[in-house]
Symmetry: C2
Subunit: 177 residues, 2 copies
Amino acid sequence: MKKTFPLSKVYGLLEPGPVVLVTTAHKGRANIMTLSWLTMMEFEPPLIGMVMSDRNYSFAALKATKQCAINIPTVEMASRVVGCGNTSGRKVDKFAAFGLTPRPAKYIDAPLINECYANLECRVTDAHLANRYNFFVLEVLKAWIDPACKNPRTLHHLGKGRFMVAGRTITLPSRMK
Amino acid sequence: MKKTFPLSKVYGLLEPGPVVLVTTAHKGRANIMTLSWLTMMEFEPPLIGMVMSDRNYSFAALKATKQCAINIPTVEMASRVVGCGNTSGRKVDKFAAFGLTPRPAKYIDAPLINECYANLECRVTDAHLANRYNFFVLEVLKAWIDPACKNPRTLHHLGKGRFMVAGRTITLPSRMK
């Protein structure tokens, strides 16, 4: 079971650069896209900058509905993450094809992926750079986390199917947020 | 000694989400800033979207000179990375304070940090979102890498001085770039 996660701490989930699964829903069809091109833009409310290529089936859904969920997978899901990246929602129902469980979101129509350890419900707040750079500014409306997942082994794409898996954690005295 | 690195492969350095050290030079002063908020935006020529808070001393230099270098450190440099994040170039010469070696760049005036395993020489190509979001679009003009560093233990910020250190690498059959 997921529990609610404070919006003030969302940056700590995305700053390390994990591969994410972006879910959308449009015209009765839910879809999943594997994506690595995103960054935090503001702490609270959390803003995220995300690049989604217009070659992807999800692009039209994101632009039309102005909603998506960012779901963060761990290494146990690696083959499904790659599967979602190598297929198109034009042809494949990815939830069915990869055995992923959609869970209703609270504020958006796009489903959350239950197998991911964290889920962020987002709405597009700025699409000015969507035409030029496929760049969207998202606001996180609600965040969920699996409290049992203390040390998530996130995936970090190195290109062409190579992934770095999150390693050990170190702590240094710091005044940085 | 660094060697030149193909621009077509730069995305593989930044996609995994490492903490970076951004160098600038302005009015005769070089500076270093620790930063995690950046994303790839295009493969080639490589475009990077980067958020640099206007509270930082480096912000004015970046805006005025439209140049910076993105230097990627590894875990051996962790205390210096945090040191650069906890001090301001207004008061501290960070190269001197943290024993970092400036190396001249080829295309820009900002120095590269020799201790970092990779260095990207960048120019600002779009600052339309700088006022609203502190967001800059950078083009990588030249990339350098340490060929001896086969398995870089990059740092990935989790918040408040906690870092994930890059772990093992896995490879899955993939058609993704």
